[in-house]
Amino acid sequence: MSNDARTDGGTASATDTGASAGALARIDGYRILLYLGLVGMLAFFLIPIESGLVTSFKTPGGVSGSLPFAPPTSSTFTLEKWQSAFDALGRGLINSALYAIPATVISALLGSFAAYGITQSNWKQKYKAPLLALFVAGIFIPYQAVLVPLSQFWSMVPLQEWLGFLWALGINNDYVGVIELIVTHVAYGLPICTVLFRSYYKNMSEEMIEAARLDGASIRRIYRRIVLPLSGPMFAVVLIYQFTQIWNDLLFTLVLVQTESSAAAPIVLILAGLGTSLEGQDFALRMAGAFIAALPTLAVYIAFGEEFAEGVAT
C-alpha cells in the first residue's frame, strides 16, 4: 500500500531481523496502541458522517427516539427524506454543474497559460517575482474584501441585455447569475491554479524547452506541442481541486444569485436553508440534502484522492 515504506526506528527492522520474543511482544504492544490510535481517529472523522447518513433514513419518530448513530429499524426507516431532499435540490445539482464545470476548466487552462508565461519564457526574474507574488497573494484574499465592489460591478455590467438572445430562447433570465459565477470563480480561482501549475513547470526540463526553441518552435507552439501534452498530471490535480472548491463555495452564490428561490440557485445555496423553518429543524432532511450536495465532490475525492491530496498540500 505505501509507496515509500521505510524501516524507521527499531520497529520494522526488529521484525525484519527476527528479533527475540521479548522484543516482539514489546513491539506488538506498541503496534496495538498505534492501531488503536489510528482507528480511534477513524471513528472521530467518520462518526459525524455516519450519524448523518443513518439519520437521513429515519422517520421523525426515529430521529427523536433513537440514538443518532444507530441505524434505523424497519419501523423507523424511510426514503421519504431523500426523496424530498432530491426534489428540493435536484435543480440545484444541475445549476451548480452549469457553472462549476466551465469555471473549473477555464480557470485551469488560464492558470496553465499564466504559469507557462511566467515560468518557461525568458524574461527577467526581477520582473517575474512581483507578478508571481501578486498571484500567490491572490490565493489568500478573503472574498469579503471584494464582495461589495463585486456586487457593484455586476450591477453595472448590462449582462442581462447582452444575453437577451438567451432569454429569447426561453431560458430563465435568472441564469445570468450562472455567467457571473463562472467569470467570478475563474478570476478568484486563477491564483491557486497558476501557483499549482508553476510548481509543476518549474520542474520541467529547461533544456527540453530550449531544444524546442532551437528546433524553431515559437512560444505558442512550444506550449501547444510540448508543455500542454506534458501537463496532464497537473491538470488532473488542478481540475479536481478547483472543481471541489467551486462546487463547495457558498459566499459567491449568495451574493450573485442571492435567493434559493431563483431558478438558477446552486445546490449549496438551497442546502444552506434546507430543513430550517419556524416550526423547527428537520435534521433527517438536512442530512439527506447534505449527502446529495456532497455526492459529486465525494465521488471525485474517492476516485482521485491522490490528486486531491496533492492539490491541497501545495
Binding site: 497559460f113 511566467i118 478573503p142 478570476a187 512560444i219
Partner: protein
C-alpha cells in the same frame, strides 16, 4: 535566402528553410524591442500567455480591493450608487464604536489562533501516526482527509446535528459519561469553541497532508541516528523530527488562519441565515450581514478592509519569507 525574423511572428511554421536574419531588418526603434530590451527577450511574446490571466486577477482581485477601500470611505447605504465626492474615515470610527464589531474582531482573533493551534496539533499527531510504517496507510489517510473535500455548507449540516441539544452525538456521549447536556450552539460562551471543534474536524486532514510531506522529506538517517543515540520514540520526535518541520508548520498555519478568516460559509449554513448564533459572530459574517442584510455597503466595506488587513498581516510576512528563501 532570408527568413522572416519579425519578433511579432510567432507562427513559426511558415518559414522558408535555411538562411538567417539580415541584420538590417532589425535596426530601428520599435516599442516591442524596447519592451523586450527592458524586461527580457520573451517579454512581449510570452505576454499572450500571462497577460490575460494577470489582467483578470488584477481587475477582479486587486482592482476590487482598491474599489472596496474607496467605498469604505463613502457613506453608501441602501439602493443606488455610492457618492465618491465625499470621502472620510467615518465608517472606521463607527466600527470602533460598534460593540458588535469589536466582539466580532475578538471572536475572529480567538477563532484564528485557537483553530490554527488545535488543528496543527491534531494534524501533526495524525501525520506521525500515518508515518509509522503502518498497513492500510492510504485508507487511513484518505478517510482523515475526506472532510476536506466537503463543502462548509455540508459540514455545517453534520455538525448542527452532532451538536443538537437533545439528540446530538456529542450530548449523547457526554450524558452517558455522567455529565449534563450542554447547549453547544445556544450558549454564547461555548458556541465559538464548538465551531472551532467542527472546523478542526474538517481541516485536520489538511494539516496532516502538509506535515506528512514534511516528514517524508526528512532522510531516514535522522531517525536511525536518533535511535542509535538511544533516544526514545517520543524524544526522537520532540528533539529531532519536529524541529525540522518548521517550513511545513509555517505553510500550514498560514493556510489555516486564512481559512479561519473565511469561515463565513460554515456559520451561515449552521443557522441558515446571516445572523450566526450569539457569541459566534466573526468579521467575515458581520461584513456580509452588514452588506446584504442591512445594506450598509460602506460600513461593510470598512469591515472588509479590516479583515483584509488582518489577512495581509498574516500573508505578507509569509510571502516575504518565501521570497527570501527563493521560492518566488
Amino acid at each position: 535566402m532570408t527568413r522572416n525574423t519579425d519578433t511579432g511572428d510567432d507562427s513559426g511554421d511558415a518559414l522558408p528553410d535555411g538562411g538567417v536574419a539580415e541584420s538590417g531588418q532589425r535596426s530601428g526603434f520599435s516599442p516591442v524591442s524596447a519592451l523586450n530590451e527592458r524586461f527580457g527577450s520573451d517579454f512581449v511574446e510570452s505576454s499572450q500567455f500571462w497577460l490575460p490571466p494577470f489582467l483578470l486577477v488584477g481587475l477582479f482581485v486587486y482592482g476590487a480591493i482598491i474599489w472596496n477601500l474607496l467605498i469604505s470611505l463613502t457613506d453608501f447605504t441602501g439602493f443606488g450608487t455610492p457618492d465618491y465626492g465625499d470621502l472620510d474615515l467615518e465608517m472606521y470610527s463607527r466600527a470602533l464604536a460598534d460593540s458588535g464589531f469589536v466582539d466580532a474582531a475578538i471572536n475572529t482573533f480567538i477563532l484564528l489562533v485557537g483553530f490554527t493551534l488545535v488543528t496543527l496539533a491534531l494534524g501533526l499527531g495524525l501525520a506521525i501516526l500515518i508515518d509509522r510504517n503502518i498497513r492500510f496507510e492510504n485508507t487511513f489517510r484518505t478517510i482523515y482527509l475526506l472532510p476536506m473535500s466537503l463543502s462548509f455548507v455540508v459540514t455545517a449540516q453534520f455538525w448542527a446535528w452532532m451538536f443538537n441539544f437533545n439528540n446530538g452525538v456529542i450530548n449523547i456521549v457526554i450524558t452517558s459519561l455522567g455529565f449534563g447536556r450542554v447547549d453547544w450552539i445556544g450558549n454564547p460562551d461555548i458556541v465559538l469553541w464548538a465551531v472551532m471543534f467542527a472546523l478542526m474536524w474538517q481541516f485536520a486532514g489538511y494539516a496532516m497532508v502538509v506535515f506528512l510531506a514534511g516528514l517524508r522529506a526528512i532522510p531516514d538517517e535522522h531517525y536511525e541516528a536518533a535511535k542509535v543515540d538511544g533516544a526514545s520514540t517520543v524524544r526522537m520526535y520532540w528533539r529531532v523530527i519536529i524541529p525540522q518541520l518548521k517550513g511545513s508548520t509555517i505553510s500550514a498555519s498560514v493556510v489555516l488562519m486564512v481559512f479561519a478568516l473565511k469561515a463565513f460559509d460554515f456559520l451561515y449554513s449552521l443557522v441558515g441565515g446571516y445572523r450566526p448564533p450569539n457569541g459566534a459572530d466573526i468579521l467575515a459574517t458581520k461584513m456580509v450581514r452588514e452588506a446584504y442584510a442591512n445594506l450598509n455597503w460602506a460600513y461593510a466595506s470598512a469591515v472588509a478592509i479590516t479583515l483584509f488587513l488582518m489577512t495581509l498581516g498574516i500573508v505578507g510576512p509569509y510571502l516575504y519569507y518565501q521570497y527570501n528563501r527563493g521560492n518566488l
